[in-house]
């Protein structure tokens, strides 16, 4: 590691020049020469297959009389009125979807804070790590859904139960990845921070959190998908409102097109959340991508 050497590096300021060149070369090869052509092509690439698949679904189910498999036309037709019926304030979107997402964000936020704080503490101490690790590994390995019946004992079936379910499920991947990230901090950087007498707060802020951030993000990403699963599951067990609750209600009352519209909406929520997540992490980890690339090229 120490001898990555300077041979493969750029010696000037334009460090990302090499990457840009490669991208340009790739574009030149694919033959998209004009700006307009390039834009059109990339739009086509993004939209093309989804459009084909949706059309296929539309056409294949059009005129379907299958009870379980209603035409996409019907599903789309019920979508608006099912979720955004008027008045808007009483629509399912406000009454069910928003509470679900808020519970998810609350539980996820708690897990993030607790996980990172505990992870930094445990990761910074060799003894504490050895002490806590087997127990943490066990809790991480417990499939989070089995905690729902347990937590229902303590907290009933209200909002707090759902938030705690989400928080306990999201906690472990964040916590363990943070521990791993803190453990993996470069000792040379730690020495540097000590030699320049960085205080505890500055060390945590500038060294530990930044240095562990790639692993923290990895854990947070795993936690997000677990959180969505738990958001839905906690509502399927017992609830008065929520996206998962609504979908199950539709299924039990055999309102099939509405159920499908809920499945699609849930998918959209998942996709949107992951887009937000990616935007946030890209902003905080931009240095890491370049750093990785430079290590890759230099080694």
């Amino acid at each position: 590691m120490s001898g990555t050497g300077g041979t493969g590096r750029m010696s000037g300021t334009g460090g990302t020049g090499g990457v840009r060149d490669r991208v340009h070369a790739a574009e030149a090869r694919t033959g998209a020469r004009t700006g307009l052509g390039r834009v059109l092509r990339s739009v086509l690439l993004v939209v093309g297959l989804p459009a084909v698949l949706l059309t296929a679904w539309w056409v294949l189910t059009d005129g379907s009389t299958s009870y379980f498999n209603p035409p996409l036309r019907t599903i789309v037709g019920t979508f608006g009125e099912t979720w955004f019926g008027s008045p808007f304030a009483e629509s399912r979107f406000v009454q069910d979807v928003v509470p679900s997402v808020l519970r998810l964000l609350a539980g996820y936020g708690i897990a993030l804070v607790v996980g990172v704080v505990l992870g930094v503490a445990i990761g910074s101490s060799r003894a504490l790590r050895a002490y806590a690790e087997p127990v943490l590994e066990f809790f991480r390995a417990v499939p989070p859904p089995v905690m729902v019946p347990i937590l229902m004992l303590f907290l009933g079936i209200g909002t707090s139960m759902k938030i705690v379910v989400i928080a306990t499920g999201c906690l472990w991947p964040i916590l363990l990845n943070t521990v791993e990230g803190v453990r993996g901090l470069d000792p040379v950087l730690r020495d540097t921070a000590r030699a320049y007498r960085l205080g505890r707060a500055a060390t945590v802020r500038h060294l530990v959190l930044r240095g562990a951030s790639p692993q923290i993000v990895t854990g947070a990403r795993q936690a997000l998908s677990i959180g969505i699963i738990l958001m839905v599951i906690s509502e399927m067990f017992a609830a008065k409102d929520g996206l998962g609750f609504s979908i199950v209600q539709f299924q039990r009352s055999f309102a099939i097109p509405e159920m499908w519209s809920g499945v699609i909406l849930l998918g959209v929520v998942g996709v949107l959340l992951s887009l937000v997540f990616r935007a946030v992490t890209n902003a905080t980890l931009s240095w890491y991508l370049g750093y990785r690339q430079s290590q890759h090229g230099g080694a």
Binding site: M1, S2, G6, R9, P187, L189, A202, H206, R210
Partner: protein
């Protein structure tokens, strides 16, 4: 690149401090090095898992205020251990390191360190300027003064135009310049350098050596420079401490009479340089074979250097 410019920075420059190493001894306990932060180097020679390893046996020397002293020795001589003890990063088993008036127990105020692993001692998530600025923030230097120091020192190491770049976008030599700029901006009274140029190419190395001499002269600080390169030690140092193999003692404290102004071509071509080089080279060879005192060393080329 570090010409007479930027001498304004020297106006507020603190003077160097005295550094005393007294009876320093360091024994690593068995089963590898416990404790955090071994840089991973110098593991060689530690026999097996269980046995304690005596890295430094008994070191006593002093560095006068404002002096530039180089430390050489065979590889595995505990040079890095010595430097880490002096930096307060590693507790000594016995003996002490005294900076100014007070013994060092942890990283002391007024000391800056430049490590060999340039690629790993800079924070990759910070720009060059932020890297230089961070220790100053912690020292509670005012914002205006920080900006001034960052600008001046980066210009002094010839990196005035890359302050917004990330360290990993720079070549190895440039990264080490950033580390040096960070140390200089810190306005230390003592600067410790641990084989800082071991991993940069030869040409860059000459430039960086001149840079260190120039900074040292301008800032008037005390510099301890650890290296395994004999030529580098002689070219840079006012004195060269030659260490024995592990467990380490000082073999000889060599005065370098090359004058205050040095030049890569001329200085290295002088007879005095050649004489010192031969002498130190022989000492290091003897040290490798286990010689632990100057009296026991059999030097075939006499120190007087009648033949040159």
């Amino acid at each position: 690149m570090t010409g007479p410019d930027g001498s304004a920075a020297a106006s507020a420059a603190p003077s160097g401090a005295r550094l005393d190493v007294r009876g320093l001894r360091k024994v690593y306990p068995g089963s590898g090095r416990s404790g955090s932060g071994r840089s991973g180097r110098g593991r060689s020679g530690s026999g097996g898992a269980g046995a304690p390893v005596e890295a430094i046996s008994d070191l006593t020397f002093e560095v006068r205020p404002g002096e530039l002293v180089c430390v050489v020795g065979p590889s595995g001589a505990g040079k890095t251990t010595l430097l880490r003890c002096m930096a307060g990063l590693l507790p000594a088993t016995s003996g002490e390191v005294v900076l100014g008036e007070s013994a060092i127990t942890g990283p002391p105020e007024g000391m800056a360190v430049v490590l060999q692993e340039y690629g790993r001692s800079l924070f990759p998530w910070m720009t060059v300027a932020q890297n230089v600025e961070l220790p100053l923030k912690e020292k509670r230097v005012t914002r205006r003064r920080r900006a001034e120091l960052v600008r001046e020192t980066l210009a002094a190491v010839g990196l005035g135009d890359v302050d917004g770049a990330y360290p990993w976008q720079l070549s190895g030599g440039m990264q080490q310049r950033v580390a040096i700029a960070r140390a200089a901006a810190y306005e230390p009274r003592v600067l410790l350098m641990d084989e800082p140029f071991a991993a940069v190419d030869a040409q860059t190395r000459f430039d960086l050596e001149d840079l260190v001499r120039a900074l040292w002269k301008r800032l008037g600080i005390t510099v301890v420079f650890v290296t395994h390169d004999i030529d580098e030690a002689i070219y840079l140092g006012e004195r060269v401490l030659v260490l024995s193999a592990r467990p380490t003692v000082v073999l000889e404290d060599v005065e370098v009479g090359l004058g205050p102004d040095r030049d890569q071509l001329e200085t290295r071509g002088t007879a005095e340089f050649a004489r010192l080089r031969t002498h130190v080279y022989e000492l290091v060879q003897q040290a490798k074979q286990g010689v632990r005192s100057l009296a026991a060393a059999r030097l075939t080329h006499t120190v007087g250097g009648a033949d040159v």
